[in-house]
Symmetry: C2
Subunit: 336 residues, 2 copies
């Protein structure tokens, strides 16, 4: 049991005021917590790395803000090592928010058991929050009709790649926007998108127009900023903008002005622009996971994952993600 | 018939590149058009003055753009003077788009007969496009629930005053935003709003917060710009922003950046922001007019009108409207 008595952690050394660097974090070793009645002790297996982690360091969003000295927070897939809760057994695999550390205790209601379907990591990517975000955001909020044009930004990202693939699967013209030519090639060649455009191209707006000859009906926005503005000007009447994330804004301390055309183009084009959080669709998660798993099994949906190894790599994994380095779902393998 | 042979007109002398002035227009006299088969000749009685008129001078919106040398366009209530169309008789009162002139011909499908209920002008204000815009925008797009807080900008304006009154009638806390203290007093004292705030106050954001102690559930936006930004930061989770107009942007040649918080706050607060055009709700106009007329009859809804006299006053009526000079629905009495 020697090893289990150590709880490796990554703490927030200092909250970032501008671009996040690895210096914002420091390694530490903490005590191994003891579960009280009704609680479970969970060992982190896979740690999810999400752009939203950066937003948590900015102040209150849809959850409380983080502060210096705390263990960095994060979603995890974990194995139950000790249980004083009914219905949860040692060895169960659970989703929980262990944060950036080996071990944490939670009340039973704060963990949810995972019924494994295929590989564990799929429950962080396509069958986890990223895939569910894409599924509910595109189909529940965007609601594209077959043969319409769907554009997805950060289309090589964790949620973006799934949204762009679902758009193709349900019969839409699926156009991706990504930050390198290599990602764009991958989106077309490997994921079967109809077109992909590099938003760093000086001809980006012209290329977006050419890739969407019939305009844009649904824009799945993971970025905000200039890409959102470019899409706004190409939207068709009655179109929908799904506001899923704001990668362009997470890594700053104050939000930039919004895109031109808000609200003018929303009026003249009768656009709907709607934000959502995946938790809002919790009732639909079971059915969504079934459909997503079916698409994986049939080969229609390709699982795109981008793992790092070792808890100590988490800071670099996040900083690199914010710089656009990831291809698909990024996570850290902490234990097996 | 001597008088009827003259067609007084206001032409666009020069399209504005910045703030609109009366110099953009010039008076002229045109020929009296002859209706062909299937057409009607209509005499302008009341000319509607709308902020949207200014937008038409900026380029294509949801209709074609205007150009120099043309008769300025505008919605009108008119009387049929000559008819070569089945089902439309001389003396009928119709809605049409005569523009800023005494007389125009239209194909029968471009006019719609008005069944008079009370005063003619009500069919331009509460029972016309302004009232229908408020009704469908608030109830059809905003869909507030009783006891929620509704904020309306340009609340002393043609659509805004009706939206703010409907919010009160359906049981919401109704808060108006206007541009002078005098308008604010009128909104509370005469129209029965729960509160009204002057957006020119240096303490505007603090006063908005104080007027909405439970946050904002539905924001009916007629302005865009800083007021929209202030409202965004006070919206409750799951709230709705109805994008009805962009008064802050009509009188410029290029759109300003959008409000901070788009799309970040849309995501974290799960907001819906949706534009609409009143024509989209044409199927519901009959029922809406019945309900609005009932509220007028019962005294619950006060009709707020701001008329000018004489076609030649139209340029000043529009320029003053864009400067926020109107209280309620502005129009020009051209003939009786």
């Amino acid at each position: 049991m020697g090893d289990e008595q150590t709880n490796n952690q990554v703490l927030i050394r200092e909250l970032p005021t501008a671009e996040l660097t690895v210096d914002a974090f420091e390694l530490a070793t903490g005590p191994v917590p003891e579960p009280a009645d009704g609680e479970v002790l969970c060992r982190t297996l896979l740690l999810s790395i999400d752009a939203a982690n950066r937003a948590w360091m900015q102040g209150a969003t849809y959850r409380g803000a983080l502060s210096a000295g705390q263990v960095m927070d994060g979603f995890t897939l974990a194995r139950v090592e000790d249980s004083k809760a009914d219905g949860i057994s040692v060895g169960d695999i659970v989703e929980c928010q262990n944060g950036w550390q080996d071990l944490a205790v939670h009340p039973a209601r704060a963990v949810s058991r995972v019924e494994l379907r295929g590989e564990l990591s799929h429950h962080l990517s396509v069958l986890g929050v990223s895939g569910l975000t894409a599924y509910h955001g595109l189909l529940g909020v965007g609601r594209p009709v077959a043969r319409q044009t769907v554009v997805t930004s950060a289309a090589a990202g964790a949620a973006g790649n799934v949204a762009a693939q679902i758009a193709r699967i349900v019969g839409c013209r699926s156009v991706g926007v990504a930050g390198t030519d290599e990602k764009c090639r991958m989106l077309v060649d490997d994921l079967g998108l109809d077109a992909a455009i590099n938003h760093r191209s000086p001809e980006f707006r012209t290329e977006l127009k050419a890739a969407c000859p019939d305009g844009i009906d649904v824009y799945f926005d993971n970025t905000g900023g200039d890409i959102l503005e470019a899409a706004l000007f190409r939207m068709n009447q009655g179109g929908t903008i799904v506001c899923c994330g704001v990668v362009s804004q997470y890594d700053t301390s104050s939000p930039a002005p919004g895109p031109r055309g808000v609200p003018g183009l929303l009026v003249t084009k009768r656009l709907r622009m709607e934000g959502f959080i995946v938790m809002d669709f919790a009732d639909g998660h079971g059915a969504a996971i079934e459909e997503l798993a079916g698409w994986i099994d049939s080969g229609e949906l390709r699982v795109l994952e981008d793992p790092y190894d070792g808890l100590e790599s988490a800071p670099e994994a996040l900083v690199d993600l914010l710089a656009g380095g990831n291809v698909g779902k990024r996570f850290v393998r902490v234990a097996s």
